[in-house]
Each structure stands twice: as structure tokens, then as C-alpha cells.
């Protein structure tokens, strides 16, 4: 990536044009306004239609999930014997209700909240784990790298969904949104560790790392102040894509009976997998939750792609 921030130093060496204010320093008339790397990336993202539409879509879904309940005021847990399986548009049930008379609209709102909770728990666990393990392996190399990466390889021989099923089947008490987030987090860092390691392997050979070494910087400082900020692009892209994967995985686990399956626990994945059973009899229970899940995952994926393009514009053949 090229940077345009050299303007200030270059400009002061070249004599100013005649007529320029004396001592004015840099002539900016024909220059490009200096932007930092970060400003450029944010600017590129803001100009990216795909990424921005994802962001708007996600914002709408979050508003729906968190502000919606304040407006409608219905509680999903409320069971109404008088209104079991009513179709959408019925009095007081905008999106209909399920077999035990719970409002689907309230359920969707709560489901969006729970989904966010799952993603949050997942990230809190997986992100630091993957970062630290990948960083250690990539930075120190040799036996640290060999040990940690063989460990990762070991777990990766088994498909992730299967690892999750085997683990989840052993802990029935984790069939809540938090519990599923925990399990996802404990096994979701493996690919991040690989990505970070790969980045570190190339980055640690760069001149600025050598310079930091020569200046006496500690390993900790080099990792956290020099290497991680430079690997940030791949890390952020992983965060978005992994969040989307986590949402889908939660729904799949729940569908197979190893996810959010406790009596009172709800999640978007649970609404979707319950709805599949009712696809032909009560189609609203099938379409609306599936649609909501689709929109959230779609939004996150779009944001991820926008961020990737912002960090690495070489993919698009049009100048950004």
C-alpha cells in the first residue's frame, strides 16, 4: 500500500514557488493533503457501496432487536392461550404466533439480541486466544511454532461442526446462548491463530521490526505495538467473517439438537430450526426467522468484504 504522507518532508526541501509566502513551508497548492494509512482505509470503506450497505443493514437489524421491544412492549415469554398459531396480521400479532401463543415479532427481537450475545461471548474468548497463540507461534518460531501449530492441526483434522457436536453432547448444561457462545469460542480461534501466524511470519522479517529490535524494544512491545497493528487488516476481516460463521454454526448446532435447546432459552437459530418443522403448516414461523437470520449474516458478510477491500484495494481494478 502506498502512502501519500511524504508531502510535508518533500515539500520543505524543494524551494517554494516564487510568490509563495516566505517561511510558509510547504506549498500545498498542487500537493495531496496528507492522509494517514488509517484515514485512507476508513475513507475507502466509507466509499465502498457493498460495505456501507452491509453496515446500514446491520444497523437496522440491531435497531430492530434492541429498540423494537421498547416500542412494541410485548414479552416473548408471554403465552397466550387465546392466540395459538395465529397467522401474521392478526390483532396484536403482527408476524403471527407459535403453537403455544408466543408473539413471533417479540421472539425475533429477542433472537437478534441473543445472537449478538452469542457473537460477543464467542469473540471475547476466541479473539484473544487466536491472537496470542498465533502471535507466539509466528513471532518466536522454532519449537513454540511447531508445538502450537501441530496442536492446531490436530484439532483441525476433525471438521469444526463435529468437534462442536462432540463437545456439546458432553455438556447438556451449556444449551443456552451463553453456553453455545462459550463452546464456539473455545474452538473458533484455530483459523485466526493460523492467519495471525502467517502474517507474523512475513511481518517479523520487515526492516521496522529489525529497527525496533536494534533500539532495544522488548518482544512484548514489538508484538503489540508493531506487529499486531500491521496485521490488523486480516484480523478485522476474520472478526467479521467469523461472526457470521458463528451465527450460522449456532443455528446448525441448535438444529441438530446440540445448541440452544434448554426449555426457556431462545435464540435466532432456535427460532429458525423450530420453524423448519412448521414449514408447510405455519409458513410464517419458517420464513420470518430464516429471513432475519439471512439478513444479519448477509449484512456482516458484506461489511467484511467492504473492510477487506478497504485494507487491500488491489482486488478491485478501479482506483479507489
Amino acid at each position: 500500500m502506498s502512502s501519500t504522507q511524504a508531502a510535508s518532508t518533500a515539500g520543505s526541501v524543494v524551494p517554494a514557488e516564487p510568490g509563495a509566502p516566505v517561511g510558509g513551508g510547504v506549498d500545498r497548492e498542487f500537493g495531496v493533503r496528507a492522509r494517514s494509512q488509517r484515514q485512507q482505509i476508513i475513507r475507502r470503506f466509507l466509499h465502498n457501496k457493498v460495505g456501507m450497505s452491509g453496515l446500514v443493514l446491520l444497523a437496522i437489524m440491531l435497531l430492530f432487536g434492541f429498540v423494537g421491544p421498547l416500542i412494541t412492549g410485548t414479552d416473548y415469554a408471554l403465552q397466550n392461550r387465546e392466540a395459538q398459531s395465529v397467522p401474521p396480521g392478526s390483532d396484536g400479532y403482527l408476524l403471527g404466533s407459535d403453537a403455544i401463543g408466543r408473539d413471533l415479532l417479540a421472539g425475533l427481537m429477542q433472537g437478534v439480541q441473543r445472537t449478538l450475545l452469542i457473537v460477543a461471548v464467542f469473540m471475547v474468548i476466541a479473539l484473544p486466544l487466536g491472537l496470542v497463540i498465533g502471535a507466539l507461534a509466528g513471532y518466536f518460531g522454532r519449537w513454540v511454532d511447531a508445538t502450537l501449530m501441530r496442536l492446531v492441526d490436530l484439532v483441525l483434522t476433525v471438521p469444526l461442526l463435529v468437534v462442536l457436536i462432540v463437545v456439546a453432547s458432553n455438556f447438556p448444561e451449556l444449551r443456552t446462548p451463553q453456553g453455545v457462545g462459550l463452546i464456539l469460542g473455545l474452538f473458533g480461534w484455530l483459523d485466526l491463530a493460523r492467519i495471525v501466524r502467517g502474517q507474523f511470519l512475513t511481518l517479523r522479517e520487515k526492516e521496522y521490526v529489525e529497527a525496533a529490535h536494534a533500539l532495544g524494544a522488548s518482544d512484548q512491545r514489538i508484538i503489540f505495538r508493531h506487529l499486531i497493528p500491521n496485521a490488523l487488516g486480516s484480523i478485522i476481516v476474520w472478526v467479521t467473517l467469523a461472526a457470521a460463521t458463528a451465527i450460522i454454526l449456532e443455528a446448525s448446532l441448535t438444529y441438530l439438537g446440540f445448541g440452544v435447546n434448554q426449555a426457556n432459552a431462545t435464540s435466532l437459530g432456535r427460532l429458525v430450526s423450530d420453524g423448519v418443522q412448521a414449514a408447510s403448516t405455519r409458513p410464517w414461523l419458517f420464513y420470518f426467522p430464516g429471513g432475519a437470520l439471512l439478513l444479519i449474516v448477509l449484512a456482516i458478510n458484506l461489511i467484511g468484504d467492504g473492510i477487506r477491500d478497504a485494507f487491500d484495494p488491489s482486488q478491485s481494478r478501479v482506483r479507489a
Partner: protein, 329 residues
């Protein structure tokens, strides 16, 4: 290249032993194969449980149990299920069912991914590119089981009604017990009719992600200097794209597909569950985890892990074939 393959396979054996040990430890700690007898009324006498434990070897030391399993596997014996049937026979039958499901799906998905990916790259930012991109995004964001249910409910049921007879089957890998008396065309046409929907579902979902890879790889290649040189030499556009571009752009896809096939063999678990195909995935879920059967889980793990390892190796070897600059050492 031969030495490379041999070294990789030797390393893989170690990984397989390691992961089977991990899974064994996890299962041994929590599985109780006798749990289904506890709730029987009247409860069987204590001597029954003692006998069962002795028979299944549950009283043995943890490491001894693992060693018994491992030494059995080395001689081709995958042990028995808790119901006393050999695991190896069942595994192969299940593997056959899963291969049928995957083979067609992967072939369709790869062809579609290459076509759509190349079109998307060559006609970047044109309406066709946008359409395919949007479609791919939609498919990637869909949970498998939801999409499969959609196909089942609305395509299959609708078409069956339109034809007035059962064209698509939504459950099972073949009509129950047909294999006992029918063979030849009758059996295989029945299997084909059962195959269509799961294949469509699996193929479309795999194709979506792969087409994005193919498009990205193709874009990368289209911008490179040797493409410009090929055009400057006077080759037609079509020829440069197909001969010079596509061949190089296939390399990233090979890895992704090879890795994907390896994982799929472990069971397109969800697809099998939705369409009630008795393949590897349902074997793990129902017979393995459902019955708390360690031998089934371990046998399943070994077979699917072997496929992951083998297809990883194939990906590396194909890499060297497609790109002569890559040397395996």
C-alpha cells in the same frame, strides 16, 4: 514429489493417532453406554450391569482401552458397536451412501464455480457480475438446513404436485427395503430420484463460496503482466483468458475444493439429517453420539480424518502440477 507425499503421510499418521486419542479421552470421560438401561422398568439387576461393563471393557484402565482399540484398528478391526455388530462393515456401507451424495454435488459445484467465477471476473461490475455476486452472498448467508427445507417444501412438493406423481423424493437415500429385492435399473433410478434434491442443496451451497474464490483468483490473474504480454503477442482475448488466465487462476480453487471435499466426507451432516440420508453424518449423530458408543465415534473420526488428510495431500500435489514454479521438497 514421492518423498514429499511419503513424509506427509507419515506425519499424518501421527496426527491421526493424536486426534483419535483426544476424542477417545473426551468420549471416555463422558459417555455411558449403559445409560439407556438405567431408566428401564423394572430396573435390571446389578449383575446385569456388571456383566455389561465387563463385556464392553469399561472396567479396564483408560490407556488399556485406548490401546485395545488402536491395536484393533492396526489389524483392520474397528471394534464392535454396543449392540455387538462390527463397526467396519457399517462404516463402509455409510461411506458409500455419503460418497454418492458428495460426488455429484462436488462436480456440479466446481463446474458452476469456475464458470460463474470467470464470468464474474471477466465482466467485473457488469450486471451479470452483480447478479451472481448477490446470489452467492445470499447462498453463503443461508443456513444449510433452512435452504434444504425450502427446496423440500416448495420445489419438490410443488413439482410433484405438478407432475401428479413422485418425481423427487424428500426422505432417505432409497425407497425403504428396495435394495433387498430390486437391482439394476430399478434400484439405481430410484436412488437417482432420491439423489437430486440433496445434491442440488449441497452443490449450490458449496458453489457459492467457491465461485467467490474463483472470481478473486481470476481478477488477480487478469491484472498480471503475462496476460498483457499474451494479448500483445496477438492472441485472441478468449484464448488469453482460457489458456493463460484460467489455468493459473485454478490454483487457489484447488486447495479450497480439496479441503472442502475432505470435510464433506466427514458427513454433509446437516444435509444428511434434513434429507434423512443414512450416511456418515447420521452414523455419527445417531449411532455414535446418540447411543454413547465410543467405537462408532472413533471409527467415524478415523475415516473422515483420513479423507481430510488425503485430500490435503492431493491439494498440495495438484498445486505442483498446475504451477510448475512450485517445487515440493
Amino acid at each position: 514429489m514421492l518423498f514429499f507425499a511419503i513424509r506427509r503421510l507419515l506425519g499424518a499418521v501421527l496426527v491421526l493417532v493424536g486426534s483419535s486419542f483426544l476424542v477417545f479421552a473426551l468420549c471416555a470421560a463422558s459417555f455411558d453406554p449403559l445409560s439407556k438401561y438405567y431408566t428401564l422398568q423394572p430396573r435390571p439387576p446389578e449383575s446385569f450391569f456388571a456383566n455389561m461393563r465387563e463385556e464392553l471393557g469399561l472396567n479396564d484402565n483408560f490407556f488399556l482401552r485406548y490401546w485395545n482399540w488402536l491395536s484393533g484398528v492396526l489389524t483392520g478391526d474397528f471394534g464392535e458397536t454396543i449392540n455387538g455388530t462390527p463397526v467396519a462393515d457399517q462404516l463402509f456401507a455409510r461411506l458409500g451412501v455419503t460418497s454418492r451424495l458428495i460426488a455429484a454435488a462436488v462436480i456440479i459445484a466446481v463446474i458452476l464455480a469456475i464458470i460463474v467465477g470467470v464470468i464474474g471476473a471477466v465482466r467485473q461490475y457488469k450486471p451479470s457480475d452483480y447478479t451472481f455476486t448477490f446470489l452467492a452472498y445470499l447462498l453463503i448467508a443461508l443456513p444449510t438446513f433452512w435452504f434444504a427445507a425450502l427446496l423440500k417444501e416448495f420445489i419438490a412438493v410443488g413439482l410433484n404436485d405438478a407432475f401428479g406423481r413422485q418425481v423427487f423424493f424428500t426422505l432417505g437415500e432409497e425407497t425403504a427395503a428396495l435394495g433387498l429385492y430390486a437391482d439394476g435399473w430399478e434400484l439405481w433410478s430410484d436412488r437417482l430420484a432420491h439423489l437430486i434434491l440433496p445434491t442440488i442443496s449441497l452443490a449450490l451451497l458449496s458453489f457459492a463460496a467457491w465461485s467467490r474464490f474463483q472470481r478473486a483468483a481470476m481478477l488477480d490473474v487478469l491484472g498480471s503482466d503475462y496476460m498483457r504480454l499474451a494479448r500483445a503477442k496477438g492472441l485472441t482475448y478468449r484464448r488469453t483468458v482460457v489458456k493463460h488466465g484460467l489455468r493459473n487462476a485454478l490454483i487457489p480453487l484447488t486447495t479450497v475444493v480439496a479441503l472442502g471435499i475432505g470435510t464433506l466426507f466427514g458427513g454433509a451432516i446437516i444435509t444428511e439429517q434434513v434429507f434423512v440420508w443414512n450416511g456418515m453424518g447420521r452414523y455419527l449423530l445417531e449411532d455414535g453420539i446418540g447411543d454413547n458408543d465410543i467405537n462408532v465415534v472413533l471409527g467415524w473420526l478415523l475415516v473422515s480424518a483420513v479423507f481430510v488428510v488425503v485430500f490435503n495431500l492431493i491439494a498440495d500435489l495438484l498445486y505442483a502440477v498446475l504451477d510448475p514454479r512450485i517445487r515440493l521438497s
